[in-house]
């Protein structure tokens, strides 16, 4: 298990908060670049309201000389871009927190128990040329506080703001410098030394899934915009020309999934990206996928429900949905990455598995994973299995042949002289509608029989640590669980991370069988993975740590929850 969180200044958690439209995103991107370039590690996550302007949002940037990959509750440095931001962050502000805000905003909040650092962000920005540079001033303050070398920062600024001779670059540079100076002057004791971050790749969850899709050979994506899944659609749209992909925005999610199946019928590897509500609408399409045995990859980025719920927040409430979406019975696969590398690798793998087993594959992520970014050493490109599983349609081709498989060899129309017929009704071997009830039984058995091959391809869980009390994590909570377990300081803990919830590796049961206690950690209110665990392994968790307020698990507070649960065990 990772060794971290010695309580000292191994890392600084910096939060930028302000209204939508105030340019938090620019600060976050710029600081990300600056930190990476100067050799620091950075982890970022954000929380924001479902609106375009106003309100209060925040982005965490956790900075360290060592790799960091999950959020903490603790705020060491708060850059408040407006007054409401201080109120918004109030709960996370402690006496240790250094709050940088304009003097007026800070005064209005006399109550807060924090190290106050009044900096006239707007004033400095205006001095540098324009009020809108405030966010650049803030970035400068952060860079100053963190002790970045100014000379290494300046070239990055130029690249970031465009043409070096432009007014904009000059103004921003001036603004940055002014902030930097203020930041240094604060003498906050929050400097972070450079680490080995040079040359690493700084990417988001959305990027990782997008690149995984490219590695998986995606040729077609059709979707309807829906937070937090749209990032993948945007990513592939940006690279459509370069990688030869048809990208289409559908009129609705139902069209999206049916188009996707059409595409894959022609052998073009296809995916859809959506969130829980969109997947609900696709449920009939999921069932169609099961019946046609046409592969499909569903990226489902979770957010809290029911219905519209909290559209820009995170949660893990849709595990049971992807397990059961669609009527009737047919096999499926559910993957749930816990890291950016897994997000890449499992997305690529989803395409392979879908085509190999001719089933719907669900890639289950969430806003927490989509909107996060941090450095990865490299993408496991060499491990990508690029095998194709397409047959040729010979003269007597029968799409649902019972002679081979399961699955029956899949050919695509135009690949030979044979015909390729799909039917959503129960069908005969050729793919024509049938009312032969014996054949029906054989077709059901064949479809369900694919579960055997699928089981052979199942991914094993990852066990970190030697302890006999096992914390079970699935999907995007992995890193927070690992760090939290370490933070408890207890060596009787181990963390088991499951990146394939369904079907579940036998190993999961075997490992948990031997545990003294099992604690599940989930981003929902009813313990869905716990139920699945009981169903598939017979093991009932001894304790559950559930969070369903729309925010991700954070290592430090999760560690406290773990500790208090452990007292009870």
């Amino acid at each position: 298990m990772k060794e971290m969180g010695n309580g000292g200044r191994a890392d600084v958690n910096l939060v930028v908060s302000g209204a939508a439209g105030q340019g938090i995103k620019t600060v976050e991107k710029l600081l990300g670049k600056l930190l990476g370039r100067t050799g620091r590690f950075v982890f970022s996550t954000k929380e924001y309201m479902s609106r375009v302007r106003g309100g209060s949002n925040s982005t965490d940037l956790r900075v360290s000389a060592e790799a960091v990959d999950c959020p903490v509750e603790r705020v060491d440095l708060l850059l408040a871009l407006d007054g409401p931001a201080i109120g918004h962050m109030e709960r996370r502000i402690t006496e240790e927190t250094l709050v940088v805000a304009s003097p007026g905003d800070l005064e209005d909040r006399v109550g807060i128990r924090a190290r106050k650092a009044p900096v006239d962000l707007e004033g400095l920005a205006e001095e540098a040329g324009r009020k809108v540079y405030s966010n650049t001033v803030a970035a400068g303050v952060a860079a100053g506080v963190l002790g970045l070398p100014l000379e290494e920062c300046l070239p990055v600024l130029e690249g970031f703001f465009g043409d070096p001779d432009s007014e904009d670059v000059k103004g921003n540079t001036k603004a940055f410098k002014a902030g930097f100076e203020k930041g240094g002057d604060l003498d906050a004791g929050l400097e972070i030394e450079p680490g080995e971050a040079a040359g690493m790749l700084l990417m988001s969850g959305g990027d990782a899934v997008g690149m995984g899709a490219l590695a998986g050979g995606v040729r077609f994506i059709c979707s309807y915009p829906m937070s937090p899944s749209t990032a993948v659609l945007v990513f592939l749209a940006r690279h459509a020309r370069r990688f030869g992909i048809v990208v289409e925005q559908a009129e609705d999610e139902i069209s999206a999934v049916n188009m996707g199946l059409g595409a894959w019928y022609t052998g073009a590897r296809a995916m859809v990206t959506t969130s829980g509500g969109g997947l609900s609408l696709m449920a009939e399409g999921v069932s169609l996928c099961g019946m046609l045995e046409t592969p499909m990859v569903f990226h489902v980025a979770q957010r809290p429900g029911p219905a519209t719920g909290l559209p820009t927040r995170t949660g893990q409430e849709d595990l049971e949905l992807v397990l059961h979406a669609g009527h009737g019975e047919f096999p499926r696969i559910v993957l749930a990455p816990g890291t950016l590398e897994q997000a890449f690798a499992l997305t690529a793998r989803a395409f392979m598995l879908a085509e190999k087993h001719q089933v719907p594959v669900f890639l289950l992520t969430d806003q927490n994973l989509m909107d996060t970014f941090y450095q990865v050493r490299e993408l496991p490109l060499d491990d990508v299995d690029t095998t194709r599983f397409l047959a040729e349609a010979g003269e007597d081709y029968r799409r649902y042949s019972l002679d081979e498989g399961p699955p029956s060899p899949m050919a695509v129309p135009g690949s030979g002289t044979g015909l390729v017929c799909l039917d959503s009704d129960e069908h005969d071997e050729e793919g024509h509608i049938t009312e032969d009830l014996d054949l029906r039984v054989r077709m059901v058995d064949k479809r369900l029989g694919k579960m055997e091959g699928i089981a052979e391809d199942v991914l094993e869980p990852e066990l970190c640590g030697e302890g006999s009390i096992i914390v079970v994590s699935w999907g995007s909570t992995r890193n927070a669980c690992l760090e939290a377990a370490a933070l408890t300081g207890r060596d009787d803990l181990a963390v088991l991370h499951v990146c394939q919830p369904y079907p579940l590796s036998r190993k999961v049961g075997e490992i948990l069988e031997g545990a003294d206690a099992v604690i599940t950690v989930e981003g929902n209110a009813t313990g869905q993975f716990g139920r699945l665990l009981r169903d598939l392994t017979g093991i009932t968790p001894d304790a559950e740590i559930l969070r369903y307020d729309g925010l991700p698990f954070r290592a430090d507070t999760l560690a406290e929850q773990l500790s208090s649960q452990l007292e009870g065990i």
């Binding site: 990476g36 690493m200 790749l201 700084l202 990417m203 990027d207 690149m211 490219l214 590695a215 998986g216 050979g217 040729r219 077609f220 059709c222 370069r242 990688f243 030869g244 992909i245 048809v246 289409e248 559908a250 009129e251 609705d252 139902i254 069209s255 999206a256 049916n258 188009m259 996707g260 199946l261 059409g262 595409a263 019928y265 022609t266 052998g267 073009a268 296809a270 009939e284 399409g285 169609l288 046609l292 993408l379 490109l381 690029t386 194709r388 349609a393 695509v412 129309p413 135009g414 690949s415 002289t417 015909l419 390729v420 017929c421 799909l422 039917d423 959503s424 009704d425 793919g431 509608i433």
Partner: protein, 288 residues
């Protein structure tokens, strides 16, 4: 090369009622495919669910017989992923204008190079006789025992309003007319709607062969199908239903033509693998 029209009816257990207009449509379709000389293995018929939607099981073709109401999305995707294929989407009025109404609208906007054949019998056949979107006001059914009260959907007028690139209507009782129209529709570059008046002898005793004959007229030579306003007037200007090509707009580009994937390379997408080298370069761009 196997011709699509090879199939007879012998050996086929066809689920249509004797006398149904679907037989006339099938004959016309086979005739059109014969005229067009489309090899069976290059033809994909995409359909939904309903009596009409059983068509691909009764001709020689590849097919994607998907969900009720959902033929147009897969048809579009198939057309854009493999341009060697001829794609026909086929189904009933409930299928295409009821459950599938949203896809109809947006497919017309997208303008993929597909032919859209709608068997318009003004009733739900397979589910035994409920009203369809095109049922006439007053039409009595088990679900509408006092008669339909919704205004019938006029696919031709709506398609013209959507600026569909090809809009036609024909009649199952006149296979010659119909096969001619289908030939034109398939040849048309882009989306082509053919709304086909089809008697349902089991559940629609009102709109029978005679009714359709008496309540339709052929578009005259004087009609200019490229004139959108004239087309609209033709669609709504009379109590009777206009038969023929009502509107065409050859200026619209197809969906496929505008895809970067097809700009330089004609290879069907299924023959293209991932480009891991280019991906490696892309990943490199994430280096900070």
């Amino acid at each position: 090369m196997t011709m699509a029209y090879r199939h007879g009816t012998e050996g086929l257990d066809m689920a249509w009622c004797p006398g149904c207009g679907n037989f006339g449509i099938r004959n016309a379709l086979l005739k059109a495919l014969e005229d067009l000389e489309i090899p069976a293995e290059e033809l994909v018929v995409v359909s939904g669910i309903g009596q009409a939607a059983k068509m691909p099981h009764y001709i020689k073709c590849s097919c994607f017989n998907g969900l009720h109401g959902r033929a147009l999305p897969p048809a579009t995707a198939i057309a854009v992923c493999n341009r060697d294929l001829t794609v026909i989407a086929e189904g009933g009025d409930g299928d295409m204008y009821g459950e599938g109404g949203n896809h109809f609208i947006h497919c017309v906007r997208r303008n993929p190079d597909i032919t859209h054949l709608v068997h318009d019998n003004m009733v739900y056949g397979l589910t035994k006789g409920q009203a369809s979107p095109t049922s006439m006001i007053g039409f009595e059914t088990p679900v509408q025992p006092e008669g339909v009260i919704l205004r019938p959907f006029d696919p031709v007028a709506v398609a013209v309003a959507l600026d569909a690139s090809f809009v036609a209507r024909s009649f199952a009782g006149d296979p010659d007319h119909l096969s001619g129209i289908i030939v034109e529709a398939v040849k048309h570059r882009g989306y082509a709607l053919v709304d086909i008046l089809q008697p349902c002898v089991s559940f629609n005793r009102v709109n029978d062969y005679d009714w359709f004959r008496e309540n339709s007229f052929e578009v005259g030579d004087d009609h200019d199908p490229t004139n959108r306003e004239a087309a609209f007037s033709l669609a709504v200007g009379s109590e009777k239903l206009a038969l023929g090509v009502i509107y065409r707009n050859e200026d619209r580009k197809t969906f496929e033509e505008q895809q970067p994937v097809w700009e330089e390379d004609g290879t069907p997408l299924f023959r293209r693998g991932p480009d891991l080298e280019e991906l490696r370069r892309l990943a490199g761009e994430y280096e900070v």
